[in-house]
């Protein structure tokens, strides 16, 4: 399991009810179910991935987060997880609002466009950056709204969303992000992980 999921799992206490939005093949769900006795649900758009989740014995709903989150009642989950998908929505702001409506808390991770490799790639190669967390070409990427850790940090603040914890992830190392080290973390982390609440 990738390090990102381990960090997310560490943010969630045992026996909670969790919705994994864009749960893909259910790796994180399975881990949470088996190791933390989490009552876990998934929402996934890909039919193939849904089948993989079913084969793992996971409860998953085939659907699109932009349309299908509205069926869940307010605060019906302790945590709602959104891993590296926010930037792929047509309207990330609406999705974020929905995550925070459905979940008492939300855990959102974003691939950091401010990561130094991304900046270097664009600066020196002059082509759209391709990295481990941004593996696609400009013409086939699902990503519509790339942002940096700094962008997201400011965005949630401007929406009066409370940040409980924000973590910068670089390979296997995770570290706390705060106002004072934001610039540095924005340069050296390829992934940002935010635990938020509204």
């Amino acid at each position: 399991m990738k390090n990102e999921f381990q960090v997310i799992a560490d943010l969630i206490e045992k026996d909670k009810k969790v919705l994994d939005v864009g749960c893909a093949d259910g790796t994180l769900m399975k881990f949470l179910k088996d190791n933390k006795n989490i009552n876990i649900r998934g929402l996934e758009i890909s039919k193939e991935k849904v089948q993989e989740c079913i084969a793992k014995g996971l409860t998953v709903i085939e659907g699109n987060a932009e349309k299908d989150l509205k069926q869940f009642p307010d605060k019906s989950f302790d945590y709602v997880v959104l891993s590296q998908t926010l930037q792929a929505f047509l309207n990330p702001e609406l999705v974020l609002d929905e995550l925070l409506r459905v979940g008492k808390k939300a855990i959102v991770t974003i691939p950091n466009f401010g990561y130094w490799k991304v900046r270097f790639h664009l600066l020196f190669k002059g082509t759209m950056p391709i990295t481990k967390t941004l593996p696609d070409e400009w013409y086939n990427t699902p990503n519509l709204h790339m942002c940096t850790i700094k962008d997201f940090f400011h965005f949630v603040k401007s929406k009066d969303i409370k940040i409980f914890k924000s973590l910068a992830l670089n390979n296997l190392n995770s570290s706390i992000i705060n106002e004072s080290n934001l610039g540095v973390k924005n340069l050296f982390a390829d992934l940002g992980i935010f635990l938020i609440e509204k």
């Binding site: 014995g57 409860t59 709903i61």
Partner: protein
Amino acid sequence: MNTEKNIKTLIVKKPLKLDCGKTIKDFPIAYETYGSLNSKKDNAILVFHALTGDQFVTGINPVTNKEGWWSYAVGPDKAIDTNKYFVICSNVIGGCMGSYGPSHKDPDQKIFGTNFPVITINDMVNAQYNLLDHFGIDKLFSITGGSMGGMQVLQFISNFPDKSKTVIPIATTSSHSAQNIAFNELGRQAITADINWKDGNYTSSDTNPGKGLAVARMAAHITYLSKKGLQEKFGRKLQEREDLKFGFDADFQIESYLRYQGSVFVDRFDANSYLYITRAMDYFDLAKQFNGNLSEAFINTNAKFFIISFTSDWLYPTQENKDIVIALNSIGADVGFVEIESDKGHDSFLLDVPDFLSALKNFLDKSYEEN
């Protein structure tokens, strides 16, 4: 048909009050089982059949000598694995494979015909519930069925919220739409317009409204397939001829196919049963039973739901299946949902659709492991 010796029957002694107000008692429910009930009695799956199905889910149907209607899904090592699970299926009341229906005799030994009480999906599941007592099963492992079978699944768990661990409605709806009712009415009109129908009293003579019933089946059959499926299978191909014949014989393969479907159907199905069962489907509106709030139908159950629809099913389209998912999610129920890609229309659930069968198998087997 109800005199066949291959039909197992449970006589329900307990009176059953029907939605129409009448009460029936000492009535037969014809059923079949597959696999064996384990000592803990926790491996039973109750399968509900669709409009023209019967209790012979798999293997060779001893009455028609044809494959059971769900042979792709049910059997040893199949999605519903009879090496593992004990599968029970019964003919719905109003049907014509041995359960109490319009071809039975009333207490005065006269064949019911249209004097048989109008039954509902609710009546059907209340009647079938007696099978649990019969087998001494306190809680089923699963209930499942497609189309009208799915309606019974929804009604059953609503009526008996703690009687099944898992619930699998397939290609179904919680409320028959105007289009659904329209197609059923077309079928009923075809039957009642047949001169041999005689207000439903045909069974007292040798003639029966076979022509009308065949037309009803042909019309319904079209609704079970997709436009793309039909086009790919038949297109404009001609039936055993080089060119058009400029007449009204079956020039096209699709015509010949439909005529065949109609003709084989009348050999195994009773026209009055067709009227009764389609009526039960039309009357089905689960939300209405709960003042328009479908979620209320499921408020008392902790069962694990898994809902399956098919992309090309336009009779009970994905959205109608999703409405059930939405109702369940809004009360925090444990519900999974998948829409299976298939060109085979509503009939997909009866056919060899690997993604469907593997999803069904995985859901059942994984849920059973957690038992």
